[in-house]
Amino acid sequence: MRPQIPFRVAAATLLVAGAGSAFAQGAPLKVGLMLPYTGTFAAIGTTIENGFKLYVQEQGGKLGGREIQYFKVDDESDPSKATDNVNKLIKRDNVDVLVGSVHSGVALAMAKAAKDNNTLLVIPNAGADAITGPMCGANIVRSSFSNWQPGYAMGVVAASKGVKRAMTITWNYAAGNESIKGFTEGFEKGGGKVVKDLNLPFPNVEFQALLTEIAAQKPDAVYAFFAGGGAVKFVKDYAAAGLNKSIPLYGPGFLTDGTLEAQGASAQNMLTTLHYADDLNTPKNNAFRKAYALAYKSQPDVYAVQGYDAAQILGAGLKAVNGDIAKRDQMSAAMRKVTVDSPRGKFTISPAGNPVQDIYLREVKGNNNEFRSVAVKGLSDPARGCKL
């Protein structure tokens, strides 16, 4: 029997605990970036990180008075690895906040892990409706959009242009199907009718069979959802098949964002809807674009804006609790009350955690998506299935 040992253990524990909390005050805030750094969406991952870091730099490298320490994991846009990857950040690196990701399937796995571990999650891109729908959580906020939003706005625009019969085409996966649903809702509310939905497995890019099908059905317009290499190929194939001369091609902005150099002439004059346009002539956007171009020697795009705003939302939350991440509930609540002064224009966060924002109609001119008009003002995702 050596009774002093429990005492020593207790003393040591107290010491460590005391040192720990003292450490936490001055210690950097651990931000886990889970983004695609390889694969189809690699460029997007880098741009988001750049945008995020730009805002942090503008605040002198601190958010809510805390230095930021980054932990990075490449999620490869692979949902089957997502749970393992997010656990590396949560369990191994003990991050305070998760930021990610681009692919919706990966982000859904992150949302689940964030809920299970009660970790804060800011989503800088993935638009899956479910994240701010059935999967919504008090500790989850999105700085980007829901797939439904740009789709719905394009539906409204198409109907107002007098389009009666439309066809849709996408990859058969969550993001595509949700975007199509949004379009169909906006379009049919305006009196149009979607005559046929075409789809192909992700990430298949053999479109020729489906283009032939479109030519055979002769709709008034086509609404397409693709991104990255698929978007480039679809728009080029559509133009090469001569369909753009008789059947206008509409889509959410992802169809023509960051892809125009590769799409070249085939994308000219296309109309798309998105929560951002490069040439928004506002002081905020001009300043943002200048700062980004200076810092990274390249032009920012919508993904950079979303990364930037993710940092803004996180910063607002941290400020409300003076950098004390332990007050997580207070912080989550503050992150929902913020009005974000974004390069895209001011927006607020819905109770479900999704931006309530203007959706713009843009037209492709040269290598730019030029602002034309506000397609729908202050559009809020219906957040179906969210019980918050």
């Binding site: 789809n199 990430p203 890019v205 030519a215 055979a216 480039v232 080029k236 369909l243």
Partner: protein, 290 residues
């Protein structure tokens, strides 16, 4: 579906199938004759596409010069790669082959990322092929697609001639069916393998170069091609060029019409085809080396 649309869809199916054949033929050579499971084959396709992207500003409209230079580079690259890596794999088991060739995929992707970046890039078709002709009421068909099919047919005929009509082809076929006997007859099997491997790489790179103006170049483009190529090789019978051709066309037809008629199930169509063929003929449509 009216007759005109049906015919256009058949054209689409054949065109897709032929391009698949071009990539898969290289894989079936390497897989069937050398017995190496080469997961990096998709990377050679990507390499070709990026070569087309890199070489096109240098050669402009000298399209065939661009192809020729690309093929020479691919052969040299394949030859060196075989010497440095693959020649150590023949006696090893499949797991080690898979591990090393998978590692090569990662290396190639990272090298691409460092050299070219992660953006999507378009590759221009030569001006004399950039037009299109009308097909049906609304649609037009780009001449470049026709050209790509013709190029694939030419390569298929060339490959058939080499394998069935030349001394080298005879050694290749012999090597595929019994490598020890070939060695016993005094053929330098190491050199033969090196040539076959370089040829396989060149075929995949050529496919990438031809496909580049149609598909653009983007990160991870090799991955999707790789899987479908393994399907083609397995359906066709490992090591069989004729089998690969038939299988490619079958896959093209199933994929094209699957998308039109069974949109929700189009992802499984090709794999269903593979399952059915394997139940019917476990060795694939054609036997090894025929």
């Amino acid at each position: 579906m009216d007759l005109a649309t049906f015919l256009v869809q058949c054209l689409n199916a054949v065109q897709y199938g032929l391009l698949l054949f071009l990539v898969a033929s290289g894989l079936t050579l390497i897989f069937g004759i050398m017995g190496v499971i080469n997961l990096a084959h998709g990377s050679f396709y990507m390499l070709g596409a990026y070569m087309a992207f890199a070489l096109s500003p240098l050669f402009g409209d000298w399209f065939f010069a661009r192809l020729a230079v690309g093929i020479v580079l691919a052969v040299v690259f394949g030859y060196l790669l075989e010497w440095a890596f693959f020649s150590f794999l023949y006696e090893r088991d499949h797991l080690q082959q898979v591990l090393m060739t998978y590692a090569l995929i990662l290396v190639f992707e990272e090298a691409r990322s460092l050299l070219v970046g992660n953006d999507v890039h378009g590759v221009p078709a030569p001006a004399w092929l950039s037009g299109s002709f009308r097909l049906g009421e609304l649609m037009s068909y780009p001449w470049y697609r026709v050209f790509s099919s013709v190029a694939c047919i030419v390569v298929a005929i060339g490959l058939y001639a080499v394998v069935n009509r030349t001394r080298l082809g005879m050694m290749i076929r012999a090597g595929a069916s019994n490598r020890d006997m070939v060695r016993g007859l005094g053929v330098d099997i190491r050199l033969l393998y090196r040539i076959v491997f370089a040829g396989g790489v060149a075929l995949a790179a050529l496919a990438g170069m031809i496909a580049a103006p149609l598909s653009s170049v983007y990160p991870g483009m090799g991955g999707s091609v790789l899987i479908i190529c393994f399907v083609v090789v397995v359906i066709g019978g490992i090591g069989s060029i004729t089998g690969a051709l038939i299988a490619s066309l079958l896959v093209g037809i199933v994929d094209t019409f699957g998308k039109v008629f069974f949109a929700e199930w189009s992802g499984v169509g090709v794999y269903l085809l593979m399952a059915i063929v394997l139940i019917w003929r476990p060795e694939g449509l054609m036997k090894r080396g025929h």
